[in-house]
Symmetry: C2
Subunit: 348 residues, 2 copies
DNA sequence: CTAGTATTCCAAAACGTTTCGGATGGGTGG
DNA sequence: CCACCCATCCGAAACGTTTTGGAATACTAG
């Protein structure tokens, strides 16, 4: 493998100048730079990553840490993320390190090990939580990171996110506009920040319409078909609360909900109106549901290129304020919303 | 971050001795080593990966390169591989680098870039092919690698593999033993070495029974349900070859094959006997097919820990002969094999 | 002609580790 | 007492890059 010294000898230049020529510094004559570049190409020169890293303190490696092996139903999404990050980082000249943590080891220990040896320059953080310990740790250590989503203020870090409160407001608002007053919300896990924002949005939409939000109609829970099915049985079973409209935080929840609604002999949108936020999860398209579901839509996939770009910029020292991207959300009307039908006698 | 120098100053030792103490060299007094270890722990010392790498030439990073984003039906398998490699390598103190190559860039260029800067010590090679260009390149460059499967002899490299010829012999043999003479084989892609070995096994089993292998009954093709379905229509359609028994190289092929057989109004095992090799692909269990399929079984997942271990050993200079593992294959009899029924009149 | 300013270059230090070639001192066998 | 060996230690070089602080040259303004 050719080194800078080899080049410098062949060219009759100092190692310094060769380095500066290759790195595009200003104080090297254009003619010299051309000679250096030509010779470097000829010899197939590639800078030694270790040496560069020792000198600069940067490794050029960016990491994603998962708390454990993904659950089966998340497989396709996981592949999407990993493939996208790897590809986009490669395009930016970085390497992608994937680390599946041992579920027993404390999260921050894992990060400590990875940054300790200077192996990894920065991290992508998925599924941020309120008072996220990873964020606290990386902040304290001064290690760059980019968040997919947002944590609580101050927002002094790079992120890609959508306006989750607005999403929930819009979905809830569509049902209210159709005349619904008992609007339930099947939300994600309470520990995730986006779920908290969405609850706020649901509340606001109701309050704006002069409706008192009924706590029992809001549910934190898993983003799974199971959660939707259970909710259906619970809402419209013997002692149910009979909401007339339901906002689903995920197409997976909606899938289970629709199954439950069908099983109970009800139908959408005649008996219940359903709307959903569509992340464009692989293989789950609200347009292909029966009936097709009205939805707000912002593909998760939109975020991956941004995350790669933002993280690289953050490692390069760009200030966080310029590294905050909010994704677009569009609305797809599909006819799963109709005016409410009065609740059957004998229910609240 | 504490360095060796910090430790040496605190302990009144030379940097040399501290380094040797931590790395378990022989010429350091036990008492000294204990002191060093204690102090290292106290300061939370972690060796700087870049410096070590610069000195030793090894980076501690091991890579997997995929030629492009995985296809959807392979997602779960891909997750399994990636998660397992990451976890097992982490346990061995190495980092796992996943690189999704740009499909346009020539494979060897990708590897050249990755090893060029000394970024990656060695690679896991999946889906080896005959005269695999990656193998040729890595061999020429002297970069360690481990192969999942085998390439053509000489076998002077580390691998984990099963005896694919024996698998095909066993499956074909089971059908022959039940009285079948027209035994078809739905194989994997011709470019993959395992498919070539399996074809040899199929041939041998037939020849051992004094049956002339009929080339039209063997098919290279994708490991997909589609391939199985097409084969079914082709075998038992209007101008079909009417094999009485079929060996499937994968449960995915078998899935399509069974669907086709059913669609043609035939049934297993009355009209056709079917056996399959079961890799334990996620979500595909021959025991749950209708009817349950007789199979040879060796979980792909068995291989991942070996691959991690073998690669690490290879990078550490262990000779290849000791780094060759052959996985076990068991047979599951499930009753999808019956004696053949005579071909309908008018067919070959 | 002089002082000042760009432009282009370079020697040497620094990054933190491993390793090579000894040095030191105590013990052993003669 | 000498020669030798063993156990334990150390200084210095090496890995290949970036960066610092200036040096040398040519040009410009006065």
């Amino acid at each position: 493998m050719a080194t800078l010294r080899d080049l410098s000898r062949r060219l009759g230049l100092s190692v310094t100048q060769v380095s500066r020529a290759l790195n595009g510094h200003a104080d090297v004559a254009e003619a010299t730079r051309a000679r250096v570049l030509a010779e470097a190409r000829r010899l197939g020169y590639q800078p030694n990553a270790a040496a560069r890293r020792l000198a600069t303190g940067r490794s050029g490696m960016l990491g994603l840490v998962l708390p454990g092996p993904p659950r089966m139903e998340e497989d396709s999404l996981f592949v999407q993320i990993v493939a996208a990050l790897s590809q986009h980082l490669a395009r930016l000249g970085r390497l992608f390190v994937l680390h599946i943590a041992d579920p027993d080891e404390p999260q921050t220990e894992v990060y400590r090990r990875l940054i300790g040896g200077g192996a990894i320059d920065g991290f992508v953080l998925l599924e941020p939580q309120l008072r996220d310990p990873r964020v606290a740790f990386l902040r304290a250590e001064g290690v760059p990171f980019v968040v997919h989503g947002r944590i609580e203020p101050p927002h002094d870090y790079p992120f890609y996110d959508i306006d989750n409160r607005a999403v929930a407001r819009r979905l809830t608002g569509m049902l209210i506009a159709a005349g619904h007053r008992r609007v339930a919300f099947l939300n994600g896990p309470a520990r995730n920040t986006y779920a908290v924002s969405r609850r706020a949005g649901w509340r606001e939409a109701l309050e704006d319409a002069g409706i008192e939000p009924e706590p029992a109609l809001h549910r934190f829970g898993a983003m799974s078909a199971g959660a939707g099915l259970v909710a259906a049985v619970d809402f419209w079973g013997p002692r149910g609360l009979w909401p007339t409209g339901v906002v689903c935080g995920s197409t997976r929840i909606a899938m289970g909900l629709l199954e439950g609604i069908r099983a109970l002999g009800l139908s959408v949108p005649e008996d219940v109106s359903v709307v959903v936020h569509d992340d464009e999860l692989p293989g789950l398209r609200p347009a292909l549901f029966d009936p097709p579901l009205t939805a707000t839509r912002s593909p998760l996939a939109d975020g991956w290129p941004h995350l790669a770009r933002l993280l690289v910029a953050a490692v390069d020292g760009e200030p966080a304020e310029r590294l905050q991207v909010e994704g677009h959300v569009v609305t797809d009307e599909r006819g799963s919303v109709a005016p409410p039908r009065p609740a059957p006698p004998g229910t609240v």
